[in-house]
C-alpha cells in the first residue's frame, strides 16, 4: 500500500488546496460585503451599495467554483479514506452532516436572493440576505474546522468495542479548544485575503484612472480591514494557535522550528535549513529566548527538540513542514508591514497619489493566498504521521480496495479538469474586473454586457 498511500494523500492535498482557494475568498468577502451593506444602510447613498453589488458578482463566481470543487472533498472521505471513515465516522460524521444541514442549505437558499434580489427586497432585506450568507459561510467554516480539530486534538470520544471511535461528549467535541483557536486564526486569515483582494482592485482602478470613486472605497475598506485582520491573524489568534501546538503537538513544534536539541531559553528560528539526516539546523539565524517565551510564556521554559521523540512519531516531511511554517510566518509579517504603511499613507492623505504603494497593493494580493495555503500545509503536515492525533496513523486510513493506479488516474483527471476550471474562472473574473462596478439596473441586477 506504500505507493498508493502517497497518491491518496497527494490527491486529497491537491483537491483540497485547489478547493480552498475559493472559500478563502468567499468567507472573507462575505464579511466585507456585510460591512459594505451596513455602511450603505447607514450612509443612505448608493456608493457602498454599488461597491457591494460588484463584489457580490465576484463572490458569485468564486462561490460557484467553491461549490463544485467542494463536493468531491466530502466524498473523498469515503472513496480514498474508507478505513478512516469507518474508524472515526461515528464522530466526524456529525460535523460533516451538520455542515450540509446548517450551512449549505442557508447559503444555497440566500445566494440567489443576494445576487438577484436587490430590487425585490428592501434595503434592510437585502442587507439581511448578506448577513444570512455570511452566517452560512462562516458556519460552514466552523464545522470543517471542528472536524479538522478532532483529527488534530481528539476530544469528547470513547473507544467502541470494535476499536472504532464513538462520540462520548458532543459539547466537548463541538467546542474543542483546538477548534476555537484554529477557527479564530483561520477566519481572520480569510478576511486578510479578501481585504488584500479588495485593496488590490482599488489600486488597479486608481492606477488605470477608471472607476475612481469606487476605487477609493475599495482602497479604504481594503486597507482598513486589511490592517486590523492581518494584526489579528498574528496576535492573538496565531499566538494562541502556536501555544496549542506547543502544548498538544510538541513534536510538530520542534519540526516547524527545525529544532533537534531540547532545552530552556530556546531561540526562535528566523531562517536556516533543517538537515534531518545530520539532525541539525544548517546556517541558522535565531532570535534568542523568544521561542520559550512564545510557546510557554517564560524564557526558562523547556522546549523539546525532535531528538526527545522516537523517530517513528516525527512528522514524515520535516523539511516541507519547516519551510511551510516559515513562509506563512514570514509572509504574515510582510502583510502586516504593507498594510501598516498603506494606512500611514492613507492617514496622511497621500495613499491615492503614491504610485509605488498602489503598485505594491495591486501586486500583493497573491501573498495572503500563499500564506493561508502554507499555514494549512503546516497544520496538516504537523499532524503527521497521525490521521487522528496519537490514535490512528495515516497509513491505517486509506481505502483497502482502491489501487494506486486508480488513484493516479483520478488525480490526473482532477488536474485536467481543474486546469480548465481555473482558466474559465480567471477569464470570467477578468471580464468582471474589465466591466467594473456599475449602477443597479431597473430589475435589480448589476447591468452590463
Amino acid at each position: 500500500m506504500g505507493d498508493s498511500l502517497f497518491l491518496h494523500r497527494l490527491q486529497f492535498a491537491f483537491t483540497l488546496i485547489y478547493h480552498y482557494l475559493f472559500p478563502v475568498l468567499t468567507m472573507g468577502l462575505a464579511f466585507l460585503i456585510v460591512v459594505m451593506k451596513a455602511l450603505g444602510l447607514r450612509s443612505g447613498g448608493e456608493r457602498w451599495n454599488d461597491a457591494a453589488r460588484f463584489w457580490i458578482r465576484i463572490f458569485g463566481i468564486n462561490f460557484a467554483v467553491g461549490v463544485v470543487t467542494g463536493i468531491p472533498m466530502e466524498f473523498q472521505f469515503g472513496t480514498n479514506w474508507a478505513r478512516f471513515s469507518r474508524y472515526a465516522g461515528n464522530v466526524i460524521g456529525h460535523t460533516l452532516a451538520m455542515e450540509g444541514l446548517f450551512a449549505f442549505f442557508l447559503e444555497s437558499s440566500f445566494l440567489s436572493l443576494l445576487v438577484f434580489g436587490e430590487k425585490r427586497l428592501s434595503r434592510a432585506g437585502h442587507f439581511a440576505a448578506a448577513v444570512a450568507l455570511f452566517v452560512g459561510s462562516w458556519l460552514s467554516g466552523y464545522f470543517i474546522i471542528t472536524t479538522n480539530a478532532f483529527m488534530q486534538h481528539p476530544v469528547g470520544f470513547r473507544v467502541g468495542p470494535d476499536g472504532s471511535l464513538l462520540l462520548a461528549d458532543f459539547a466537548a467535541f463541538l467546542f474543542n479548544p483546538w477548534a476555537l483557536a484554529q477557527y479564530a486564526h483561520n477566519m481572520t486569515s480569510t478576511v486578510v485575503t479578501a481585504s488584500f483582494v479588495v485593496a488590490a482592485l482599488g489600486a488597479f482602478y486608481l492606477l488605470q484612472g477608471r472607476h475612481l470613486e469606487q476605487a477609493r472605497l475599495f482602497l479604504k475598506l481594503g486597507t482598513t480591514a486589511g490592517l486590523i485582520s492581518s494584526v489579528l491573524v498574528a496576535f492573538p489568534t496565531g499566538d494562541t494557535q502556536a501555544k496549542q501546538v506547543a502544548r498538544y503537538q510538541p513534536v510538530a513544534l520542534a519540526a516547524m522550528e527545525g529544532r533537534f536539541e531540547s532545552g530552556p531559553r530556546a531561540g526562535l528560528t528566523m531562517i536556516g535549513q533543517p538537515n534531518v539526516r545530520e539532525r541539525r539546523l544548517d546556517n541558522p539565524v535565531t532570535v534568542p529566548l523568544i521561542l520559550s517565551v512564545l510557546a510557554f510564556g517564560h524564557t526558562a521554559s523547556e522546549v523539546q527538540g525532535l531528538n526527545a521523540f522516537p523517530e517513528r512519531d516525527w512528522p514524515d516531511n520535516i523539511e516541507l513542514l519547516y519551510y511551510a511554517f516559515h513562509i506563512m510566518a514570514g509572509l504574515g509579517t510582510i502583510l502586516i508591514a504593507i498594510m501598516a504603511v498603506a494606512n500611514l499613507l492613507g492617514w496622511m492623505g497621500r495613499l491615492e497619489k503614491s504610485g509605488p504603494m498602489l503598485w505594491v497593493l495591486m501586486l500583493a494580493f497573491p501573498f495572503p493566498y500563499i500564506a493561508v495555503i502554507a499555514g494549512w500545509v503546516t497544520t496538516e503536515l504537523g499532524r503527521q504521521p497521525w490521521l487522528v492525533y496519537g490514535l490512528f496513523r495515516t497509513a491505517q486510513g486509506s481505502s483497502p480496495t482502491v489501487h494506486g493506479g486508480t488513484v493516479l488516474f483520478t488525480l490526473l483527471g482532477f488536474c485536467g479538469l481543474y486546469f480548465v476550471l481555473g482558466v474559465l474562472f480567471l477569464f470570467l473574473i477578468a471580464r468582471e474586473i474589465g466591466h467594473g462596478p456599475s449602477p443597479v439596473s431597473p430589475r435589480g441586477e448589476a447591468a452590463h454586457v
Binding site: 466530502e74 472513496t79 452532516a97 444541514l101
Partner: protein, 348 residues
C-alpha cells in the same frame, strides 16, 4: 435506532431524488424543448434558484449515512471508487454549466454550456440508477465488509459482476426516463409559451415509457434478486408506498392533459418518492447486499452506528431539518409563479 436512521437516510435521499430529479430532467430535456436563447434562459430561470439547494440534499443524505452507517458508507463509496468520480466530475460539469453560461453573451459560449448541462444531466441519472441497481443486485463483499468492482465484466449480472451489467444499465435507463418525465412535469408547471407547449406534449408519452420500464425493471429485479420481491407480500408499508407511486403515475396521466400542471408535477413527485421508499422498504434491513453469501451482507442492524451518538444527532437534526425546509419554503415562495427569462446579461 437503526430503523429510525435508516428511515431518516431514506427520506433525505428521497428528497434528493425528487428535488434534484427535476433539475436533471430539465437539463436533459432543455436541449430539445428550448431552442432559442431566451427559451433556454427561461428554463434556467426555472431551476436557477433551486438547483444548488437541491444538490445539498445529496450532501445532507451522505452526512446522515456517514453518522448513521459509517461502515456501509465507507465500503460502499470506496468499492464504487471509479463510478463515484464519474458522478463527481459530472456534478462539477453540471454546476459550472449552469453558473457560467450567463456570464458571456456569445452564441458558441452559451451553446457549449447548454451541451455540457444537457450531457451531465443525462449521464447523472443513469449513474445514480445504476448505483441503485448495484445495491439491489449485490456486490462481492468480503469478510471484512469491503469489496471492489470492475466498471464492467461480461454484463451478465452474475458473479463476478461489474458496476455496469444488463440489469444495472436497465435500472439506469429507467431512472433517466423517470427523471426526464419528472423534469417535463416541472417545466410544464414553471414555464409558459412555446417551452410549456412542447414539454406538455411530452409528458404523457414519457410517462407511458416510464410505466412500461417500471414493469420491465420489476420483472428483471425478480430475476436478479429473488429475496426482494419475495419479501413484498409481508411488508404492508412497501405495498402502500408502491401503490402511492402507481397513484402518482395515474395522477400525471389524468392531470397533465387537463392543464393542471402543478398537480401533474406533484403526481410525478409522489411517484418518485413512493418508488424510492418502496424499494428501501423492500430491501430493509440489507443496505449492502452480498452477491455470494447473505451472511456477509451489511445491514442496518449489523453495521449501524453507535446509538448514543445517534441520539445526539437526533437533537441537531430536529433543529436543522425544519430550518432547511423553512429555507426551501421561502425560496419557493419568493420565486412562485412562472419563471421569466431574465433580460440579457442579468442572471440566468
Amino acid at each position: 435506532m437503526s430503523e429510525l436512521w435508516y428511515a431518516i437516510a431514506v427520506l433525505m435521499l428521497t428528497a434528493y431524488v425528487v428535488l434534484d430529479g427535476f433539475d436533471f430532467g430539465t437539463g436533459a430535456l432543455h436541449l430539445f424543448v428550448a431552442r432559442t436563447d431566451p427559451e433556454r434562459r427561461q428554463v434556467l430561470a426555472a431551476i436557477g434558484p433551486y438547483w444548488d439547494g437541491n444538490e445539498v440534499w445529496l450532501l445532507a443524505a451522505g452526512g446522515a449515512l456517514f453518522v448513521g452507517f459509517p461502515k456501509i458508507l465507507s465500503s460502499g463509496i470506496s468499492g464504487f471508487y471509479f463510478a463515484i468520480f464519474l458522478v463527481l466530475w459530472s456534478l462539477v460539469l453540471r454546476g459550472i454549466a449552469i453558473e457560467f453560461r450567463s456570464h458571456v453573451n456569445d452564441t458558441i459560449w452559451r451553446r457549449t454550456w447548454d451541451l455540457g448541462f444537457g450531457v451531465a444531466s443525462i449521464l447523472l441519472p443513469v449513474f445514480f440508477g445504476a448505483a441503485l441497481g448495484n445495491l439491489i443486485r449485490g456486490v462481492p463483499l468480503d469478510a471484512g465488509g469491503w469489496f471492489e468492482l470492475a466498471l464492467f465484466t461480461d454484463f451478465s449480472a452474475k458473479d463476478p459482476v461489474g458496476i455496469l451489467d444488463w440489469y444495472t444499465v436497465l435500472v439506469g435507463v429507467f431512472a433517466l426516463a423517470a427523471l426526464v418525465g419528472h423534469g417535463a412535469t416541472f417545466l410544464s408547471w414553471k414555464t409558459d409559451g412555446p417551452v410549456q407547449e412542447r414539454t406538455r406534449r411530452l409528458v404523457r408519452p414519457l410517462h407511458g415509457v416510464i410505466a412500461g420500464l417500471w414493469i420491465a425493471v420489476t420483472a428483471a429485479t425478480a430475476a436478479v434478486n429473488r429475496d426482494l420481491l419475495a419479501a413484498l407480500p409481508g411488508r404492508p408499508l412497501a405495498i402502500l408506498l408502491a401503490s402511492a407511486a402507481a397513484a402518482g403515475l395515474v395522477t400525471v396521466f389524468v392531470a397533465s392533459p387537463r392543464g393542471r400542471d402543478r398537480a401533474a408535477f406533484l403526481g410525478s413527485s409522489v411517484f418518485l418518492a413512493g418508488l424510492s421508499m418502496a424499494t428501501a422498504a423492500c430491501v430493509f434491513p440489507v443496505m449492502l447486499r452480498s452477491i455470494s453469501d447473505p451472511a456477509l451482507s451489511l445491514t442496518a442492524y449489523n453495521a449501524g452506528g453507535d446509538p448514543t451518538g445517534l441520539r445526539t444527532a437526533l437533537g441537531w437534526l430536529a433543529i436543522g431539518l425544519p430550518l432547511a425546509i423553512l429555507y426551501f419554503v421561502i425560496v419557493f415562495r419568493v420565486h412562485r409563479g412562472k419563471a421569466v427569462a431574465a433580460a440579457d446579461g442579468e442572471g440566468y
